[in-house]
């Protein structure tokens, strides 16, 4: 009897690890940042394979001097740039206040989008107001840009008497059909494939509206991501599929979702979906990529995948403490900078803005948010005011069936 043949090398299991943990010096050495303006802008009729390289580079418009360069420069008016900057600054002021309110015990939970404001702010301007967005919990800037009242957002966070969702949802899970903002789930990834269905419906009806879906890089590991890309590709759904890669899924770095093997944008190529990888902290690049994708969708050319390469500068939520798993200075060292600072620098480089203008805008934003805050807090913060307990039993079905009615009566309502 011969001895059984054995492997000459013992197998070993790899567990991906980020380059730096708390206490380590920050290390972005593996990050390849191509110069602004270096990516070509193909015709929107190009297919996924013709634009393959755009899934591996970074589309960047704003250079280090704050100038807009290259073929992706959307050549926006200064009014539009200022409007985008205003959305970002208000969003940041809003986040700061609501985070503070949670720390003061005025609500149970909050989630900031600090460092990622350009994604939703630029997209809100690049889309039509009636395009339907299927957001995650970090696209609050869509609502702000589309003029949804801040006070209603706060009422939701406080689950008070005027809460539009009647005290039923965790803070930040907004909804507003009127503002093209789909009800946020909290189960990650589920909305991505729903957006494809909405887009299919729009196409089925011969409508002109498109859908805009969001998912975090961590949740691309969910089956819903695969379903979304499959259905979008099969039916040429008029949808923009955004992967917001903010590097961190709570404490798991993007390598745990497979980001070290290939870019998240490149996932699209296997489905035949044109994919763009964009500097997510570059307002102009996000805007230009979104326009390119929306033009394709509106021309019946189907879906586009956009990876927004950005950084979650804030904790995942108020329940998170990032200093336990990543170097505290990592956000400050992020090589793509801060989206607000970069758009501000661009406006200054254009001669359209000044430090004083910016200070005035920040002051105005703080005031606007404070005024809404006072109004909402006057209605009540969490526990001080709330909708009738009766609301707990409504809207499970359109008409309340006997068993729920009886349970409501058992509660005394």
């Amino acid at each position: 009897m011969n001895a059984p043949i054995k492997n000459t090398v013992s197998l070993s299991l790899r567990i991906p690890e980020p380059k730096a943990r708390p206490g380590d010096p920050i290390d972005f050495s593996g990050l390849n940042v191509p110069p602004a303006g270096s990516a070509p802008r193909p015709d929107t009729r190009a297919n996924a394979f013709q634009v393959r390289d755009l899934a591996f580079t970074l589309i960047r418009v704003l250079d280090e001097a704050g100038k807009a360069v290259g073929p992706w420069d959307p050549k926006l008016s200064s009014a539009l740039l200022k409007s985008g900057l205003r959305t970002m600054v208000i969003t940041r002021a809003y986040d700061d206040r609501m985070y503070r309110m949670q720390r003061q015990g005025k609500t149970s939970f909050y989630m900031k989008c600090t460092g990622e404001e350009a994604v939703a702010s630029a997209q809100a301007l690049a889309l039509e107001d009636d395009d339907m967005c299927f957001p995650t919990y970090r696209q609050q800037a869509l609502l702000i840009a589309r003029g949804y009242p801040l006070v209603d957002m706060m009422n939701q966070i406080y689950s008070n008497e005027k809460d539009p969702v009647k005290g039923r949802q965790l803070p930040v899970m907004y909804t507003s059909k009127k503002h093209g903002f789909f009800t946020i789930s909290g189960n990650l990834g589920t909305q991505f494939s729903q957006a494809v269905g909405w887009a299919m419906a729009s196409a089925y009806k011969g409508d002109s509206r498109i859908a805009c879906a969001y998912i975090g890089e961590g949740s691309t590991a969910e089956g819903d991501f695969h379903s979304a890309l499959t259905f979008a590709s099969v039916y040429d759904a008029p949808v923009i599929l955004n992967v917001v890669n903010n590097q961190w899924a709570i404490s798991s770095f993007q390598g745990i979702a497979g980001g070290e093997e290939s870019t998240f944008a490149s996932r699209g190529i296997g489905y035949g979906i044109p994919a763009l990888r964009v500097d997510g902290n570059d307002f102009l690049a996000v805007y230009a990529a979104t326009k390119w994708a929306s033009e394709r969708a509106r021309a019946n050319l189907g879906p586009t995948l956009i990876e927004h390469f950005t950084y979650r500068a804030a904790p995942h939520s108020t329940s998170d403490e990032p200093s336990r798993y990543r170097p505290a200075e990592e956000a400050k060292g992020w090589p793509l900078g801060d989206p607000v600072e970069r758009l501000k620098a661009h406006l200054i480089a254009l001669g359209e803005w000044s430090e004083d203008d910016h200070k005035a805008l920040e002051k105005e934003a703080t005031e606007v948010v404070r005024a809404a805050g006072k109004e909402s807090e006057a209605i009540g913060t969490l526990g001080q005011s709330r909708p009738s307990v009766k609301e707990m039993f409504e809207d499970v079905f359109k008409e309340t069936p006997w068993h729920i009615r009886r349970q409501r009566q058992e509660m005394g309502y």
């Binding site: 789909f182 189960n187 494939s193 729903q194 299919m200 419906a201 259905f231 099969v234």
Partner: protein, 337 residues
């Protein structure tokens, strides 16, 4: 009026609704050109066009998710999950999403979708083509769960489901598609054409959701059942020589409590019959309801006849399936109590 088997009745319901309402569309695995593995969608694509009845990728989660998106847009999609045994990849989309869209958005968005899926045993389908997972859905707030037992009800309930503004899951007893199977599996198969409930109107009508039907009035014992088990219960009553009042629940959520209470109050005895496994099955809920509502009228313990708490086995189809012998035994036992 025409004579229809259950498949034809289900097909007719979709045809009627697609004709009446341009916002009704049908999709699922193999449902388009081919017309579905059980032929439920046969001819719909040819008649109504490619975009109104089409094939979906093999991704149950994606099928339900896209239907939710379409529902949120304002359409009324009717989707088929090819076997109830394949529904689990879609469970998150059904439970966390479709069921809660209205609630979590305070009716800003709703999911008026109808999900059809063949379920149940008696076809030698083994453990992946025979399950009865209805209790996994009745346990979820925000979903209506419907199970027809004959062609007339199947069409009327399906139309009511499509017109309903909330998500409805319809489990279709696939053993009944071609005939009213009563569990005597060695007997020749009887076609629907010999059964009164195969007289089905060609046009539009509804059977209301949430209303049970007394299919056999009786005075000795109430049998609560649904789907294939309605026919088994009738056969068992005849076999046992017991004057059973057999109730076809038709809708499990919201269940018709009035019909149940009225019957058990009258008979004082109750046997619950379903194919699904016993532990935490819908029979447990029914038993609790009857106990809460009718305790002082009960003359014997409530009994359950169900599938065993094992996966559905291929070679032991008729030992697993709660056939008329087992149901008759329970009927006799409850009469002794």
């Amino acid at each position: 009026m025409a004579t229809m088997n259950m498949i034809q009745a289900i097909n007719s319901a979709m045809d009627v609704m697609m004709t009446r309402d341009p916002d009704v569309l049908v999709f699922g695995e193999d449902v388009g050109y081919f017309g579905g593995v059980f032929r439920a969608t046969e001819g719909l694509q040819k008649k109504h066009g490619l975009t109104r009845c089409f094939d979906a990728p093999i991704a149950e989660g994606g099928i339900v998710a896209t239907a939710i998106g379409m529902g949120a847009y304002g359409l009324r999609p009717v989707i088929e999950i090819q076997f109830a045994d394949y529904i689990y990849p879609a469970y998150d989309q059904i439970v966390s999403e479709a069921a809660r869209l209205r609630y979590r958005s305070a009716a800003d968005f709703t999911a008026p979708i109808t999900l059809r899926t063949p379920y149940g045993g008696g076809i030698f389908g083994g453990q992946t083509h025979s399950q009865s997972p209805e209790a996994l859905f009745t346990h979820v707030a925000g979903i209506k769960t419907v199970i027809p037992s004959n062609p007339y009800d199947a069409k009327g309930l399906l139309i009511a489901a499509i017109e309903d503004d909330d998500p409805v899951v319809i489990f279709e007893p696939k053993r009944l598609y071609n005939g009213p199977f009563d569990g005597w599996h060695e007997k020749p198969v009887e076609p629907w054409s010999k059964h009164a409930d195969s007289d089905v109107p060609d046009g539009h009508y509804t059977v209301p959701l949430g209303k049970a039907k007394v299919v056999r009035p009786g005075s000795d014992v109430t049998v609560l059942s649904y789907g294939t088990m309605v026919h088994v219960a009738l056969a068992a009553a005849a076999h046992a020589g017991v004057d059973a009042e057999v109730i076809d629940l038709r809708t499990l959520v919201p269940v018709d409590i009035e019909t149940i209470v009225e019957s058990v109050t009258k008979t004082g005895r109750c046997v619950i019959v379903h194919e699904a496994t016993r532990t935490s099955g819908f029979g447990a809920e029914l038993s609790a309801m009857v106990q809460e509502e009718c305790f002082y009228h009960l003359e014997a313990p409530i009994l359950r006849v169900t599938g065993w708490d094992t996966p559905y086995p291929h070679a032991f189809e008729w030992e697993y399936f709660p056939g008329p012998e087992r149901v008759a035994k329970a009927l006799k036992r409850v009469m002794e109590g």
